[in-house]
């Protein structure tokens, strides 16, 4: 069952309605007050994204400083609703040029109403693809039909776009230079105990593409993942090449990927949309290569002093380097004075987040810089509570490194005209929630 959303609301952090659209009349207009009263003004906000109040279910998520709330009165598909919200936000972002926040909404009321009319009908999600919607819903003025000047762009054939076999791609595209860009972006989530034992670790990755290809090309992507390689060796009846194979979990594809072919031949083949899109998403839980190891020692000396020693080791290739490394080491709230010694980068105390922030702009592989800090605490009248010691957090980006070890084996392009294409492949690994207990 699809969403069957009765209404969608956009609220700011205070709970004021920025914009709303009622799709069905089975919920009252004042239901949003119930949301404000029972969710926003209580501590429950943020604890559970689905709430039921008075026979209605509220699905909500916060995006920057806006709450997007979907109200349904029946038994709806929750995942579909959230997917719809995510896609709708992406759509708005592509219209507003990046940002989606309160101001953006206030500046684009008319456009948003137009889009909300288009992307959902009577509570059922419709086409949310920015490429297509942008053809029909523009921010330009309406051309007078009596205008003598002929249209500089062909009037798009809406029916074909919506009903055609390849709804995501226009026909008749022509590029001088045919190029394909492919990025593999991974983010590492880690929770490690103070003794270096990995408690939780996974990688979520996406394959992003940008295509500038003429005509209707057919693309085929080969990765070093397990299923693909096994199938290939089976087909070609020869033993698979030596080398690591990666087991991907929870793979999801863009709608352009031919799933029947994937099921039968285990190859990712597709006709790409024009421009930028997310080809696939995946998750990996086994065999993750951690880019960094952190070895903290934090000692509390008496009531007013704390000593912090942190050693960070980069375990990727020596030729590579990480960028924008930030290590946040939590300290007690009553920190008054700090002094540091670092072998690389810069460290300082940030009172707003109660952390020592150690920044290293460029971090080469196979090195291990250290930081030692001395902290003095101020005495308080409050009962001396033992400090909870939150985990150390880390941010980084490592280009040309994949924590999963995933590699692109090939990317083939076929087109009737048989032009040559240039393929560009990039890898990057970022920190998700990279936490080390201390």
């Amino acid at each position: 069952m699809p969403v069957s959303a009765s209404a969608i609301y956009f609220l700011n952090l205070r709970g004021d309605v920025l914009i709303n659209r009622l799709y069905r009349d089975d919920v009252g207009g004042n239901m949003v007050d119930a949301f404000r009263m029972h969710i926003m003004q209580t501590k429950e906000l943020g604890t559970c994204p689905v709430r039921q109040i008075g026979g209605c279910s509220f699905f909500y998520m916060r995006i920057s400083n806006v709450y997007v709330v979907i109200v349904v009165s029946g038994n709806a598909n929750v995942a579909c609703a959230f997917k719809f919200v995510v896609e709708a936000v992406n759509l708005f972002k592509s219209y507003f040029g990046g940002a989606f926040d309160e101001d953006a909404i206030r500046n684009n009321f008319v456009l948003i109403y137009e889009l909300l009319d288009e992307i959902m009908d009577f509570g059922y999600p419709q086409n949310l693809s920015p490429e297509i919607l942008k053809l029909y819903i523009t921010q330009e003025g309406v051309r007078s039909p009596f205008s003598s000047k002929s249209a500089d762009r062909p009037v798009p054939n809406a029916t074909l776009q919506v009903t055609g076999a390849v709804g995501w791609r226009r026909e008749g595209l022509v590029y001088k230079k045919n190029e394909v860009f492919l990025d593999i972006v991974e983010s590492v989530n880690l929770l490690m105990s103070s003794k270096g034992v990995v408690l939780r670790c996974d990688v979520t990755g996406k394959v992003l593409m940008k295509c500038f290809l003429s005509g209707m090309p057919d693309l085929k992507l080969g990765l070093n993942d397990k299923i693909g390689l096994e199938k290939e060796s089976e087909l070609k009846s020869r033993p698979s090449k030596s080398g690591k194979t990666i087991e991907l979990d929870d793979v999801t594809f863009h709608q352009c990927v031919n799933l029947t072919r994937f099921n039968s031949e285990k190859t990712v083949s597709f006709v790409p949309p024009d421009g930028e899109f997310e080809l696939m998403k995946y998750r990996i839980t086994e065999g993750v290569n951690l880019p960094f190891r952190v070895l903290p020692t934090i000692k509390e000396l008496g009531r007013t002093r704390v000593e912090v020693n942190v050693k960070v080791k980069s375990v990727f290739g020596a030729k590579m380097f990480a960028l924008g490394v930030v290590i946040k080491i939590p300290v007690p709230k009553q920190t008054a004075k700090t002094s540091f010694q670092v072998t690389a980068g810069r460290a300082k105390y940030n009172a707003a987040i109660d952390c020592l922030v150690w920044k290293i702009r460029k971090f080469p592989g196979q090195t291990e810089p250290t930081m030692s800090a001395e902290i003095e605490l101020i005495s308080t009248i409050a009962e001396k509570k033992s400090w909870t010691r939150p985990p150390i957090q880390m941010e980084f980006q490592v280009p040309m490194f994949t924590a999963s070890g995933l590699r692109v084996r090939f990317l083939k392009v076929w087109e009737k005209s048989g032009y040559n294409t240039v393929e560009w492949v990039r890898y990057i690994t970022k920190a998700g929630s990279y936490e080390i207990r201390c």
Binding site: A351, A352, I353, T380, I381, A382
Partner: protein
């Protein structure tokens, strides 16, 4: 302000104000806190200026709601800074951030003390303010004397003394045990002579606190207070700055009058006169004007004056003046003023004699009932409810009924309940009552609780004259097309019971009645169906000669319900069907319901429960409880013509006050004392007197009658006639008169008597109006008893008579018993007793009194029993055995084997003997299973006489024993033997009386079944 110089602070504040959301603000504040921490930790130390700046920031952050748990040291250290700006911030931050329990305050005490005793007035003010704001124990201990000195010092400016008075007030309130107020009465007198009104206002606050704790010490202040009031009311010597909208210092006026209310009463006629003059002036001078502020001020003064007038129990003239004034308030359009008027009128109702005067405004109050503001409507309803009495009940109830259909839902239930209670309480005649309740059910069926219609049924059942009328009325309502279900219930019940009384009227043949009731059957819920079935069975029974057609129809209905899923309906259908086939038996079983025992209205109780919410309402309740005539039906006294005044109408109150009356009186006193009403609702003690008590009988028809009777006894022990008489039968000398009274004793009289046989003081008898206590003193054959007759209610008990019916062996002289016992008073009646001869007979006190129209007569056994003339004596073996041997053979020494003894262990039996002053000598008898006891008996004929007792028990069978009693007097020996036997033989538990007649049993039985239905 001193902030002007601190740029950092103003930058910080503007930063915080510019924050878009809470998150940004928190980040900014955390950053600032980190900065302040770093600064405070700085080794070089801070200048006073820097310290001041950061402490201000801390205060600002604290005021924004963030935790600030450091830097208190810096704040406290600023107190000792020499300059005003630093000292100021030190004091302010200390009083905001620290509470009385912080240790840091100790550090400051010395500095604060220096400031207080110093010469700088501004510093003194700062210090006093801080001490007053924190007011801890340490401060009280070390600073209170200095503050007192400051208050008394004549060299200080009024500003300082004002603050000193308030500071002292705070210290006193916080720790009254620490602040020494000995000898303050003189100083207060001196302070009240102050000319400056500001100081006077502060001092008056202090006085109110002092007086509220202990008014006796401050009597000397009273004339001064009156003088101040006089000065203010004459507007004499009141500076312009203390005049608020032309009213001379309303605050001081209010406080002074509040202080006066703490003194119990003013005896001195001069003071009283001048005080009343002042009050008169206030009452006269107050009027409603345009200006809101002026109104507020003058009304504050006025209402305090009203409270004082009520407190002082002013003359009727003044009261009526107050009421007239309030009447003016009620007629004003402004809702606030009207609310105040209504509320205060309700308060005034407590003063009994203004009742008539308030009644004059009845029409106006009824108008307020239609006010758009619900709080005004509620107050008006309360007032009307309190105002209602026999003279205006009819008007008011009718008004309420009319209002009911337009009232909003929130009020309807309360309204319905109140109308029902008033109708019941003040009904001029019973048919009117029935009319009102039926109308009530008709108009607001949803809001009429079951209690209300149960009550109607009780009334009608207990009043034969009313039955045809009620049946006719019920038929009228049933004839209407749309009917509320409660109405169906009550009319079906009434018609079932009494429709045969209407049989001669047109359209009232059993068949017709049946068909109109039967029309309602499809529309009612499962709860009502059983009642309808009973009605059918009754109609069928009453149809003489039997009508086969009707019988077939009714049987068809019973048949239909025989397979009903509801067990109650099914059982009834099956049973009625089976019974109705038996013909004659049906007549007995379905005979008319017997009368209900009389009891307190459950409605009143319910009303009490619902009235807890506001204090005003409980004031009304107080009055309600004091009402003399109240809801209970006594059938035999009903006047034939029905036109007698209600006082003599057969509505007799079974009051619920009993033990709560005392509490109420105290509450009332309190209410007067502080001028507000804060009465907690006391739970009525006689909770067993519940209407549902007798509706809870088991519904089973097949129960054997005996079981049904005993079951009923279990439900209402002591209230049921049978139960009471059973208990009475079992006791040798019963209180014959008690049951016939409508006033029920509290607690078991027999138990009280038994207890008094063993001890010398306690309660002999208690009912809702009177408590009889006894205190006795026994010396040899002489006894002196004192009877304490305590009146528990607030009206006098008259025709009090006490008559002693002494047995022949006692000579008793009762001193004069007064004719009347004043309200809430206790009378003592000494009673001299001389024992002439040994005998077990008991003296009886025939006691009667009259309460209102009720005559109560009780016969009480007096605890001047045989055992009271024993004096304990313990004999050693060498004394016992010669005596024992010297008394040989009957009639001086008697032996008897007693069977059927209460099984007691030896120590228990020894205790029993000892409690009667028969002293058991342990180890005297060589056999451990035997007991030997001795005592001395005193009487005129025998003088002191030694009595010896030996009891031989059988360890294998504790229910039998052999007893030997010996004394120097044959009568004494016999009586003593019988006495001990009585005590030892277990008193059999009351067995149910043999059923008097078959018919009665059936009725009883049947009644249970119908009560079961009623309950459904």
């Amino acid at each position: 302000m001193a902030l002007s110089g601190m740029r950092g602070l103003s930058v910080f504040i503007s930063d915080v104000r510019n924050c878009q959301n809470k998150e940004q603000e928190r980040v900014r504040v955390d950053k600032e806190l980190g900065n302040i921490r770093t600064r405070f930790k700085n080794d070089k130390g801070l200048t006073h200026y820097e310290k001041k700046k950061y402490v201000w920031k801390m205060l600002y952050i604290y005021m924004l709601g963030y935790d600030v748990d450091f830097g208190h040291m810096e704040a406290v250290s600023l107190i000792s800074a020499p300059k005003y700006p630093e000292k100021q911030v030190g004091y302010i931050v200390t009083s905001c951030l620290l509470n009385e329990n912080h240790d840091f305050l100790r550090l400051a005490i010395n500095t604060v003390r220096n400031d207080i005793i110093g010469r700088n007035e501004t510093f003194q003010c700062l210090a006093l303010t801080m001490v007053g704001n924190i007011g801890g124990r340490d401060f009280s201990e070390s600073l209170a004397p200095d503050v007192q000195k400051l208050l008394m010092s004549s060299s200080c400016r009024p500003l300082v003394r004002k603050k000193a008075a308030l500071c002292l007030l705070r210290l006193y309130r916080k720790n009254p045990d620490v602040v020494n107020i000995d000898g303050w009465s003189d100083r207060m007198v001196q302070l009240l002579d102050e000319r400056d009104l500001g100081v006077l206002t502060s001092v008056m606050s202090l006085l109110v606190a002092l007086v509220s704790n202990n008014h006796d010490t401050y009597w000397s202040c009273l004339p001064k207070c009156v003088k101040i009031l006089e000065r203010l009311s004459r507007n004499h010597d009141v500076p312009q700055e203390y005049t608020y909208y032309g009213i001379p210092s309303p605050w001081l006026q209010v406080k002074t009058m509040r202080a006066l209310q703490y003194f119990p009463a003013i005896e001195d006629p001069n003071i009283r006169r001048s005080l009343f003059e002042v009050l008169q002036r206030i009452l006269m001078g107050t009027d409603v004007v345009k200006n809101v502020n002026k109104n507020n001020a003058s009304h504050a003064v006025l209402f305090e004056a009203l409270a004082l007038v009520m407190h002082l129990d002013a003359e009727k003239e003044m009261m009526s003046q107050c009421v007239a004034l309030l009447g003016k308030f009620i007629s004003v359009r402004e809702p606030n003023i009207r609310y105040l008027g209504l509320e205060n009128m309700t308060r005034m109702l407590m003063v009994a004699d203004v009742h008539d005067i308030i009644k004059r405004h009845q029409a106006q109050i009824i108008t307020s009932l239609k006010d758009p503001d619900i709080s005004i409507r509620r107050r008006a309803l309360d007032l009307l409810y309190g105002l209602c009495d026999v003279t205006n009940a009819k008007d008011i109830v009718e008004e309420l009924l009319q209002y009911l259909s337009s009232a909003d839902f929130a009020m309807r239930e309360e309204l319905a309940l109140k109308a029902a209670i008033l109708a019941e309480k003040f009904a001029p005649d019973l048919s009117w009552y029935v009319d009102v309740i039926l109308q009530l059910i008709d108009k607001a069926g949803d809001f009429v609780s079951d209690d209300i219609w149960f009550r109607v049924v009780q009334f009608v059942t207990n009043n034969e004259d009313l039955q045809p009328y009620a049946a006719a009325k019920a038929k009228e309502y049933v004839d209407k097309p749309a009917l509320h279900e409660t109405m169906v219930k009550v009319s079906a019940y009434l018609l079932g019971e009494y429709s045969h009384l209407l049989a001669r009227r047109p359209g009232c043949s059993p068949k017709e009645i049946f068909s109109i009731i039967h029309e309602k059957l499809p529309t009612v819920s499962a709860a009502t169906v059983p009642i309808l079935l009973s009605t059918y069975a009754k109609i069928l029974m009453h149809t003489q000669p039997p009508d086969p057609e009707l019988q077939d129809r009714i049987w068809a209905i019973f048949n239909k319900y025989e397979s009903c899923i509801d067990a109650e309906i099914q059982q009834r259908a099956v049973e009625y069907f089976a019974l109705s086939r038996k013909g004659a038996v049906l007549m007995d079983i379905l005979a008319e319901m017997p009368k209900f025992p009389e009891r307190q209205s459950a409605l009143l109780k319910k009303a009490e429960d619902t009235e807890i919410d506001t204090a005003e309402q409980s004031a009304i309740k107080l009055r309600t409880q004091q009402q003399t005539s109240n809801a209970l039906v006594v059938t035999d006294q009903r006047p034939a013509n029905g036109s007698l005044p209600v006082g003599q109408l057969s509505l007799v109150k079974m009051p619920s006050i009993s033990s709560t009356a005392g509490a109420n009186a105290i509450d009332q006193g309190l209410a007067h004392a502080d001028g507000t009403l804060s009465i907690v609702d006391p739970q009525p003690a006689t909770s067993s007197a519940d209407l549902l008590g007798d509706l809870l009988g088991p519904p089973a028809i097949e129960d054997p009658p005996g079981a049904a009777v005993s079951a009923q006894q279990n439900v209402v022990p002591g209230l049921d006639l049978e139960g009471a008489s059973n208990a009475a039968d079992a006791l040798a000398l019963a209180l014959v008169g008690v049951q016939s009274n409508s006033v029920q004793p509290i607690g078991n009289i027999a138990e009280k008597f038994q207890a008094l046989c063993l001890k010398d003081s306690g309660v002999l008898y208690e009912d809702p109006y009177i408590q009889i206590g006894i205190k006795a003193d026994w010396r040899t054959q002489h006894g002196r008893l004192v009877l304490f007759l305590g009146n528990k209610v607030t009206s006098p008990l008259d025709s009090v008579q006490a008559l002693i019916l002494p047995p022949t062996h006692l000579k008793m002289e009762l001193s004069l018993v007064p004719e009347t016992i004043p309200p809430r008073a206790q009378v003592q009646c000494p009673l001299e007793v001389v024992n002439l001869r040994p005998s077990r007979d008991v003296a009886v006190l025939d006691f009667s009194y009259k309460f209102g129209t009720t005559v109560v007569n009780v016969k009480l056994r007096l605890p001047a029993v045989f055992s009271k003339f024993f004096q304990p004596i313990s004999l050693a073996a060498e004394e016992f055995f010669p005596q024992w041997r010297s008394l040989s053979g009957p009639p001086l020494k008697l032996q008897e084997v007693v069977r059927g003894v209460k099984p007691l262990s030896l120590p228990e039996m020894a205790n029993l003997f000892n409690s009667f002053h028969l002293i058991v000598a342990p180890g005297l008898d060589p056999n451990p299973n035997n007991l030997a006891a001795s005592t001395t008996f005193y009487s005129e004929s025998t003088r002191a006489m030694l009595c010896l007792i030996r009891v031989e028990t059988d360890p294998s069978d504790r229910t039998q024993l052999r007893m030997t009693v010996a004394s120097g007097d044959p009568t004494l020996t016999f009586e003593l033997k019988e006495f001990i036997k009585e005590q030892l033989i277990s008193i059999p538990t009351p067995t149910p009386v043999p059923a008097p007649a078959h018919q009665h049993q059936n009725q009883q039985h049947h009644r249970h079944s119908l009560q079961g239905q009623l309950q459904v």
